[in-house]
Symmetry: C2
Subunit: 203 residues, 2 copies
């Protein structure tokens, strides 16, 4: 198999961190997203939506969408479980991962993509008013998370899961999205120090 | 258990159709979203993000996010499988469901929420320019789907899955989103007639 990787962008990082937590090594081919490599003919053929990462299996099957790629590895290598351990826990982890995607990472990414000059060719058209409207929404989610993380080690409960990876990507994107780092939210900051100091975070 | 239902909105419908396909009956409590019932104190306590549906289990556990609720029932009642049958198929179904969410339903919903007068209190602030930018993106995805559905019965392959439910919600929202119904896309229209004539579509 071959993983077409996209460097520092959040979605390629999510999959690399997921693999690092599981101790799985996958051959990777770097794609230079800063040079718009994800819009090349090669990537467009693999993924018409021109997003990375893309996983190509040996039989030619192509998997796209970060969480779908993670799902494949979770099913093949269940330990350590990053997407839940039984029916209810799988649902709880999915709930939290989706909350982190839809109510956090999306808000931060929208602020970044719709307002940052470097994103002009990525997000067409950029709508600054929409980007700006997402900043207070991201802050509201962080305040909610801070109360949830009071006495709870990780986003979805007692174990590190894919929801922590997604939320970490959102916090890491605050600066380019020009959203204030909420240093007053002590539980959130404690959680962030914990997850970002895991060896996998460097993947 | 009790499912707090939200009527005709796409996410409550997704879960009801999913349950109908599996033949599962769950006690439901209707919530009037037109009267902003999803922002009531009762729902806000259950789901601080004020979205429906919400599933409350007998032990008090609360599940939100439509696909997480579906995951719970899929794990408990695997037949018929609506989220994949083995590791690779589960990943493929997740890929297609996410493509339908992020590259189709999101575009249509954004056009609707950011431009329709009835959505003024739902989407704050409405950014008309952003809503309008989503219409051609939805059309592009429909053109892509039309080529994919050439000779393939369902969105994710040979079986009806959750990806079909998500895509059906997007097509059903074209009219209020003021996006042209692509009657010239014959494969897509054939698929839509097939899925929307299943008994579950009335759920």
């Amino acid at each position: 198999m071959l993983l077409y990787d996209g460097g520092r962008a959040p979605n390629p990082r999510r999959v690399r961190i997921f693999l690092a937590e599981k101790g799985i090594k996958v051959p990777m081919k770097p794609v230079d997203m800063a040079a718009l490599g994800h819009r090349s003919a090669e990537i467009t053929t693999l993924n018409p939506f021109q997003r990375l990462p893309v996983l190509e299996l040996d039989d030619g099957t192509v998997l796209t969408e970060s969480v779908a790629i993670c799902r494949y590895f979770e099913e093949l290598h269940p330990d350590p479980a990053l997407m839940g351990i039984d029916a209810l826990d799988k649902a709880v982890v999915e709930m939290w991962n989706r909350r982190m995607e839809l109510h956090f990472l999306w808000f931060v990414a929208a602020a970044f993509r719709h307002t940052h000059p470097a994103m002009k060719e990525w997000e067409v058209p950029q709508v600054a008013e929409y980007g700006e409207a997402n900043r207070p929404k991201a802050m509201k989610t962080m305040e909610f998370l801070d109360t949830e993380l009071n006495g709870r080690p990780f986003i979805a409960g007692p174990r590190f899961t894919i929801a922590d990876i997604t939320a970490m990507m959102a916090v890491d994107m605050l600066k380019p999205a020009r959203i204030e780092r909420p240093v007053h939210l002590e539980n959130l900051m404690r959680w962030y120090v914990d997850v970002s100091s895991r060896p996998s975070a460097a993947a």
